[in-house]
Symmetry: C2
Subunit: 272 residues, 2 copies
Amino acid sequence: MVLINGISGDKVSVSDRGLQYGDGVFETIAYRGGSPEFLEQHITRLLNGCRILHINFGQIDHLRAELEGVFKTLDSDSTVIKITITRGVGGRGYFSDNSAIPTRIIATYSYPIYPEGYQVDGVTLRFCEQTLSVNRRLAGIKHMNRLEQVLARNEWSDPAIAEGIMSNEEGSIIECTMSNIFVVADNVLTTPLVTQAGIAGVMRGQIIQLATRSGISVEERAISRQQLAQADEVFICNSIIGVWPVSGITTTIYSIGLITQFIQKSLSELKK
Amino acid sequence: MVLINGISGDKVSVSDRGLQYGDGVFETIAYRGGSPEFLEQHITRLLNGCRILHINFGQIDHLRAELEGVFKTLDSDSTVIKITITRGVGGRGYFSDNSAIPTRIIATYSYPIYPEGYQVDGVTLRFCEQTLSVNRRLAGIKHMNRLEQVLARNEWSDPAIAEGIMSNEEGSIIECTMSNIFVVADNVLTTPLVTQAGIAGVMRGQIIQLATRSGISVEERAISRQQLAQADEVFICNSIIGVWPVSGITTTIYSIGLITQFIQKSLSELKK
């Protein structure tokens, strides 16, 4: 199902700035057990992205009403809901005179099917050649300029490798192509800062809060390849996959440790 | 007029990767005096962009035939022709299994109207706050991830300022929001390298060739703000505007005030 500005349809204008320049933001939300997960956190990030890009998105009430309507029609217990807000049609080249009315798109997709073992036995990662570029203004938000992720994700097709690790030009680890990364070393849970590159994932934010509340030391700081290799536990997360323990990176093998298991368990309780 | 995969229409699927991720490339071509300008150079760059992004664009003969058809229908002497190639619809998230058939879009626009004085008297530029991020793989090609240009161009709306200069994080000048920049100093024509950021404009390439053939020394290397300020001549270019001389760069004007003078004086006495 696709709603474009509240109307059923599956096409947008070729003049839409979302297509022309990737001029917009999006959210990917898990709908499970009859309700959307962390909906308010997703909407907060969406609106924050619009604010940073100076997209005058004033149709939040429409969006909320449309989402409620979509939720009622879902017959599957597990659905992915993608919300896209573009700057809309208008402007002359890169310049937009703010007369454009943002385009809002709500699309539902069937839940991706991942091997069951991913949650329990963990996944194998690789390092991507494609780097993440530094842009302090765009860092953190989920904007539609995603060529770096596309190129990184298409570096491998081996189904044995679930995700790829992306670093900045200096080799500092930032995130994976579609997920954030956490490492545990000396009982401290660390995840890279996303102030220069990377996406501030909603699940990442939930995990930081959850761990902090649970008395686990959490740090947001740069992680080098060496620190990653020497970590006690590693896991990746996003709103759709939840938490996947990492069992290895190419040749480096991790055991699935207590903190990873605790986070997985606590998070599943949190959603209830 | 808009042709999508050869068929008249003005909408694309919301699932098109061009919209989802800015996963594609484009060209903006001047059609003047009854023919397209530098068409082969534009097509070469378009195909090069597809190659770098691993977009399997095998419909070049279709594209050429459709362009010929479009040229015949043009009744205006001056038209802008925009060609867009996206990776098409398909794949799972960022991953594309190469089964996607690229989407090709040909759109015609009326020629933008700029003040006549721009060509003769020159234009005024400003410096943009928004930086250009470094990505060696994406540098040079005209891909559809253009948020940096959108944000930079929307920093000002004063019609007296024609263009904005964009630099990398180190402050080295790369290009303007929609044009390349050249400076002349000591009879050497210099333009920034576009191997780490920026677009290798078709007009830029033509100017480098033309100048070289004419016996003008041409260098491609980093240009600092200071070198720009001290240049003898500056101009900007792209396929649509041609060449605009730069008559000035807006700078904030301060008077040299009493406190500055006092500090200067006191400091020089302190050093004695």
